[in-house]
């Protein structure tokens, strides 16, 4: 039985038996290479659910607004960490969520597929092992190597297989070992301060403060975000570069120890700000300094909400 068939059967059963009120999953969107979030509450509609390399959204983002209802959610390994994070922070109850874990080797990057098909419209996309077969509307068939088509962040993923799934959808996939530190972080850490500043300025210069990054992030669930506070007015939403930097620096600090590296923000950004670099840096530091990785264990609190008596303070005079 294919993973998709398993998913649909389980979803229909969960809904039919009343175990959950809604299944949050993916359905086909506009085009063969687009999946979109789906909220299924009727077991008869479970057939719309899909799971493949196009399923890029982190659906844990919707759990906060569904709090209190019994929800089943389709999560990849990265998304599952967000679910665990929400449980650890008391935002949802473990008993209220059924985790439908989907092993994943990466989601595709639309820019890569567009480059491959030279903009040709894709009528059908079929995964055959490590190859993606794209059948264009023109009739032409283009083959792509999945490793080259997936988002850059997915290439460094160390959580391809879910660990807390109530139901495992599909077979476990290979988990190659990944470098401890992202090579990009190492590269930037080695730059002199002036060069690091230039890079930061350049990236921030692209940002238009649309807040797509914040909106798709499951860890950004505050009803009263600091950006919207007027008393006090923490932040101005102006085009002054320093205000853009204020937003990103503060959001990064708020995410420290809570960001799971799912990449939703990176994919949502309409102007390709290199958010991954800065989030990777902080995840790295958290691992280094606090020996902690977000979203793996629902019992362990995030590092900035606790402390140890022997925390290092050699940087403090």
């Amino acid at each position: 039985m294919s993973a998709e068939t398993t998913l649909r059967e389980i979803a229909a059963d969960l809904l039919g038996t009343g175990k959950v009120d809604v299944v949050v999953g993916y359905r086909r969107g506009d085009g063969a290479l687009v999946a979109t979030p789906a909220f299924v509450s009727d077991p008869a509609e479970a057939d719309v659910l899909v799971f493949d390399v196009t399923c890029e959204n982190n659906l844990a983002n919707y759990l906060h607004r569904l709090e209190g209802r019994k929800v089943a959610v389709v999560v990849k390994g990265c998304d599952e960490r967000s679910v665990i994070g929400l449980i650890q922070e008391g935002q949802i109850a473990r008993d209220d969520v059924v985790i439908l874990g989907t092993p994943c080797s990466g989601v595709i990057d639309p820019e890569a597929t567009t480059a491959l098909t030279k903009g040709g419209e894709v009528a059908e996309a079929v995964q055959e092992g490590a190859t993606l077969v794209l059948r264009l509307s023109s009739g032409e068939e283009v083959l792509g190597d999945l490793c080259e088509l997936i988002h850059p962040g997915c290439r460094e993923c160390s959580v391809r297989n879910p660990r807390h799934a109530d139901h495992l959808i599909g077979d476990l996939v290979d988990q190659p070992s990944m470098p401890d530190v992202s090579p990009d972080v190492t590269r930037v850490e080695a730059m002199p301060t002036g060069k690091r500043w230039e890079y930061f300025q350049r990236e921030m210069g692209k940002c238009i403060l649309c807040f797509a990054c914040r909106s798709v992030c499951p860890a950004c669930y505050c009803n009263a975000c600091f950006t919207d506070s007027s008393q006090p007015k923490w932040m101005s939403k102006s085009s002054d570069p320093s205000d853009t930097m204020f937003f990103h620096l503060t959001r990064l600090l708020h995410l420290t120890g809570r960001c799971t590296g799912c990449g939703a923000c990176v994919r949502a950004c309409p102007v390709n700000v290199d958010l991954r670099l800065y989030n990777d840096k902080l995840r790295n530091d958290v691992k280094d300094v606090f020996e902690f990785e977000a979203g793996l264990d629902p019992e362990i609190p995030a590092p900035l909400s606790c402390f140890r008596l022997d925390d290092k303070d050699d940087f403090i005079k």
């Binding site: 301060t193 690091r196 002054d240 930097m245 204020f246 800065y278 900035l304 402390f307 290092k312 005079k317």
Partner: protein, 165 residues
């Protein structure tokens, strides 16, 4: 400084402006002791008294840099001595993260510094301020996070003169 940065005049008369967030119970008292003891130290620091180093929101530090201060010092009680028991432990973690992030983004090392100064350490307070001021002198005026939207163009300033100014 990189080629693309605005050239801020570092005149011989330039003196750094440094903001110091001092916790009320230890560091502020320590600063007070330095004064009472007539210990000489550079006058570049403007003190903002907070109840605890744990009260210091990283946004305060960012805002200070936006306002154009050349350096920020945050000082609190030694670990174990916090008047509120655990405030400085949380602050310690927060500052560790903030310092690494700021440096990664290209804010010069030494612009933002931290210290533990107790109420009896008047001399230490003076030493810390001297150290920090010297470091900021070396770094030069801060330009990187300064918010220029607050600048009024010189062509407009004349029109804003009031009788009171």
């Amino acid at each position: 400084m990189t080629a693309s940065e605005p050239q801020v005049a570092e005149t011989p008369e330039w003196e750094p402006k440094i903001v110091a967030f001092l916790c009320n119970w230890c560091s502020y008292a320590g600063a007070d002791l330095a004064g009472v003891s007539r210990i000489q130290y550079p006058a570049n620091v403007r003190v903002i008294r907070v109840p605890c180093s744990g009260r210091v929101n990283p946004m305060f530090i960012l805002r200070a840099l936006q306002q154009g201060v050349d350096g920020v010092l945050v000082s609190g009680c030694h670990p174990g001595d916090c008047h509120y028991l655990t405030g400085n432990y949380h602050a310690r973690r927060r500052f560790a993260v903030l310092k690494r992030l700021l440096e990664f983004c290209g804010i010069e090392e030494g612009r933002v510094q931290f210290s533990w100064v107790s109420a009896s350490e008047g001399q230490k307070f003076a030493d810390v301020v001297t150290d920090v001021t010297e470091k900021i002198h070396q770094l030069g005026p801060a330009t990187r996070l300064v918010k220029h939207l607050w600048d009024v163009p010189s062509s407009v300033l004349a029109a804003l003169e009031t009788d009171e100014s």
